[in-house]
């Protein structure tokens, strides 16, 4: 039942998850769903709980603290990218902090190994988290938008002295992986002594 709901959300988007659509998929009357889950909000909460558990299953990898920080951030990123619609449900139900808590704990341990403590460590955890979230959101944003807008360098037209190669790099297909890595490296570099 929750599984069927998850399939609908990931395949057709959250708006497609109507109680009637779900009932049809299960071959059951709409009202039967209410007996099992209460209502739509409760159903979304169960969906969110699943994703929170999945995303929270962190396994840091690497020989040094810096490598393990990159590892945690990278796997967090790829998991968020793998289930975008369900991650959105988590956010909408206000469970984002719970989803990120295990990654925060893992990052905290590595930052401690780097000698960072207290408020400085807490800030570093959040900077890394913001970078992961921001780059994932931008990557998803591009895939949502109309191509003619992302691709059209004409939007830069009123700046004649603009760097042509850069404009093209920002207008064409973006290298999200490179952006993610560059930002992460800058952050990790700032942590050192």
């Amino acid at each position: 039942m929750v599984e069927a709901a998850a399939q609908i959300v990931e395949a057709e988007g959250l708006p497609a998850l109507t109680m009637r659509h779900l009932a049809d998929k299960l071959g059951v009357a709409v009202t039967s769903i209410y007996w099992h889950v209460g209502n739509r909000a409760a159903l979304l909460d169960q969906l969110a709980a699943r994703v929170v558990a999945e995303i929270g299953d962190i396994h840091p990898d690497g020989a040094t603290p810096a490598e393990r920080i990159v590892s945690v951030a990278s796997s967090l990123r790829s998991r968020l990218l793998a289930r975008p619609e369900l991650v959105w449900v988590v956010h909408e139900r206000g469970r984002t902090p719970a989803m990120f808590q295990p990654a925060q704990a893992a990052l905290a341990a590595e930052l401690g190994a780097l000698g960072l403590r207290g408020r400085r460590a807490a800030t570093a955890v959040q900077v890394i988290q913001a970078h992961v979230v921001g780059s994932v959101l931008l990557e998803r944003t591009v895939s949502r938008s109309r191509v003619d807008e992302v691709t059209d360098p004409a939007a830069w037209g009123d700046q004649p002295e603009a760097d042509r190669e850069m404009v093209e790099a920002l207008s064409g297909p973006l290298d999200h992986e490179a952006v993610f890595r560059a930002g992460l490296e800058a952050i990790v570099a700032s942590l050192g002594p």
Copy 2:
């Protein structure tokens, strides 16, 4: 009419913007709205266009390129934080790239002054943009969530060797401004020679 819609969205949230609610506020029949704007999607597009124009009105300030980069990122951040619900409409209507384009152009100019060109400059623009977006999203996320979750250090309980002061800093009220500045400084520092 678009103004009334904007007020509803910012004050009561996007779900509260129903055609009937808007008609009531305007003292008019529901169907009259359709004559003016077509349908709900078109109304949201007009709303989005307004916000895109507002957010896009960038005025870099500062004596050095680095200072002006910080200025652009900071004013972008505060504008996004000032109208969260309407910014969300922009995102949902796929106009996020248009909303950020002027900031990208301003950042590009400053990066050029720092000697960055081509793909490297394009990546830097996106890293900065991701940082702004990520920190804004996290700040908004916290205000949405149940307090007991954000505040409860017990979630860290299974890690006895955890840094107490850091856990408290991550559990209590967060200093979003500090996170924003720390990340931005790390990124800007990575741009130099």
